[in-house]
Symmetry: C2
Subunit: 417 residues, 2 copies
């Protein structure tokens, strides 16, 4: 980790920016003026190239070239081509990843496959406090199969012991959506394999935020989204990974023509494509898909090691400034104290977290809130400056010191995404 | 049906355009110059308003407003709001349709629900010659369930007899992707209900092309796409319909947080939303979704009765011109001769269909080809003129008379979508 001496002035933060090897990437993003965006862990901002690409796809490929773009513009192969780019960011090989559909649907496919591969085992290990759509997906799958599967919920430190020889699948999110704690993918995968279980890793809060080494860890299956740290745009399609050694046995339930071995033969009966292609189902949302490529390219050019180092440094700076400048304001760390053990965002707990976050947003510092008391701050390294961290903490200090958050305007609860 | 006397000159076709009540809608589409687009049955062209809306969503909602757009721009409610618009086009009520995911995935949900509602029945009736992704979806579902379900394939005239009291679900596409024949939704649904079966109707080649009356026919479930006659853009999300009377019992397998009754409570366990919302799974591709609204609005303003009348008239004109001006060129009708019995496109059969279509495309007349001998021409009423039909047939005549299609450049087979 890059050690950062907390600056004692805005000028000192500016000096950190002057020495930042990733500083130039901010120019590749279209950011609104007056905003410090600490919510890229939820929805990344727009790369300028993404906006240009969407316009090109809409006006040239759809409007002008019409149906011919399925071949000429390569629309039909986007899941593979963009999948290969994602593969390079998560420690996979070309041909092991496709970009398609959404994370929940992809998780359904991957978990269903693991259960089909371990028909005599009925237990699925999951972290119950995780972002709950993963629980919902597996609960729906279990209900649909009706074969007596059960979820064994285990929290972070209980996971290793929960992986016993009745476990079919270990389905975990590497970086926790709320606390930001990182699970040890290598150790847990090894533990799963030692008892004959398979792993499905959810990389939603990891992909683009840090180096991920799926194959180095021996991972079996994985899924993840592209609209957080990969800056793919709102609801940009997700991805799924199947290790090469499992690709011949994948029996995923969502069979459709894009996963057929000869999709344009229009054969009556299904016969799967070889390789990762058999995990596809149907036609993809092209405008959302093409938007995502720019963010993948930026992540690749920036490099995951430098990105992770800067993100850690910004997080450490944030915490040291909160401690130094807010002192007794009642904030407690809701994430691991060790920067190595947490992902790209940091959770703070405060009994008045909700109005405090609303007041912050009213001042242009955008983070988010998770009930009952968590406020989250994401430290995406590609478009944030150290001076933004300084300014964000100063704004937080001002809100607390002036009591701005007590303004009734910030008390009304509305839907928070 | 509007009777059309085949014009004997281009000027006569122009006169038909002058009297066309839908003529002005062509100005709402961004169409490439020099192209006669007879492939809107595969991918509709771009409404100008769709292009503007995508730009707005990308630059204002994503770039400028960032995460706040989930609420402020109504992204989170798009499946419902656009679903209600689709409902008005397919004979459903508000609250019976959501726009989401893709047709194949939606079919998986709907068929799985029917099977759960008829647990003692094992037969699913399908038209085997239909666009085969529907077969593939049901084959994958059957394999996943492992409960001995089987598909009873029946062609058009065999369907009624195939619906016996062991049938759980009748899963049919109303308008056939290749021949364009229309199945009698009311009669088949009544037959299914008479023996206790449920229906899942695929409206991919019907929605936007003709009036559809799901509730008038007593339909149970339906799916369809929005990128053909509804001009939603490449891979724009699909829709699914659940009749109000079934919404309380829907047990769809693809459970996720967008279908949860309290998605932002982040409860550990799944509890479905009431109503159509429980058929949703996860985050939707927003840029592709917003693009689709313009086409829905145009379809609503044009009206389905006038649209269907013009489409039938253009199809009839096309066939009469082919007969009058191409005579013995070897084309055979691959669609029903009765205009009432076919949908928005017409199939011609010709032993040299492939090079003939490639030659047509080289001359700016875009239809498509389906192996082994079918060429398809779509008659979307909103941006085609009668004079386009005249010109298309004249181009076809020229290609046949000059033998242009024999040029080796048109013989090479490449992927055709």
């Amino acid at each position: 980790m890059t050690a950062v001496t907390p600056p004692t002035s805005r000028a000192a933060a500016e000096a950190l920016d002057a020495a930042d090897p990733l500083a130039a990437f901010i120019d590749e993003f279209a950011l609104p003026p007056g905003v410090i965006y600490l919510n890229g862990n939820s929805l990344g901002p727009s790369p300028k190239a993404a906006l240009a690409r969407v316009t090109q796809a809409a006006t040239e490929e759809w409007s002008r070239d019409l149906i011919t773009s399925w071949n000429r513009a390569g629309w039909f192969l986007l899941p593979y081509r963009l999948g290969d780019k994602i593969a390079g960011l998560v420690g996979a090989e070309a041909g092991e990843v496709v970009m398609t559909d959404g994370t929940s649907l992809n998780l359904f496919r991957m978990v269903a496959t693991t259960l089909a591969m371990r028909p005599d085992r009925k237990v699925i290990v999951m972290e119950g406090s995780n972002f709950p759509t993963n629980n919902y997906v597996v609960q729906g799958l279990i209900e649909t199969l009706g074969r007596g599967h059960e979820i064994r919920f285990a929290e972070k430190d209980e996971i290793a012991d929960a992986i016993t020889d009745d476990v079919a699948a270990v389905v975990l999110t590497q970086t926790h959506y709320k606390t930001s704690h990182i699970l040890d993918m290598a150790a847990i995968t090894a533990r799963a394999h030692a008892v004959g279980a398979l792993t499905v890793w959810d990389l939603c809060h990891s992909a683009g935020a840090m180096p991920v080494d799926l194959n180095g860890c021996g991972a079996d299956f994985a899924v993840g989204c592209t609209y957080k740290y990969l800056n793919g745009g709102p609801g940009s399609p997700a991805f799924q990974f199947v290790a090469k050694r499992h690709q011949g046995v994948v029996a995923q339930p969502l069979t459709g023509w894009w996963g057929h071995g000869a999709p344009f033969a229009f054969d009556r009966d299904y016969a799967p494509a070889s390789g990762i292609g058999r995990t596809l189902t149907g036609t993809q949302p092209i405008l959302s898909m093409v938007a995502a490529e720019a963010g993948l390219d930026i992540a690749e050019r920036a490099g995951l090691e430098p990105s992770r180092a800067k993100s850690r440094a910004m997080g450490a700076l944030f915490l040291s400034l909160v401690e130094a400048r807010l002192g007794d304001a009642g904030f407690k760390l809701g994430s691991p104290a060790d920067a190595e053990a947490r992902g790209g965002h940091i959770a703070l707990e405060h009994p008045h977290g909700y109005p405090i976050m609303k007041a912050l947003i009213s001042r242009g510092v955008i983070g988010d809130f998770r009930a009952p008391t968590t406020i989250r701050f994401g430290f995406s390294p590609l478009y944030l400056r150290y001076v933004d961290i300084w300014d964000a903490v100063e704004t937080l200090r001002d809100i607390v010191e002036t009591g701005l958050w007590k303004d009734p305007a910030f008390a009304a609860v509305d839907a928070v995404t």
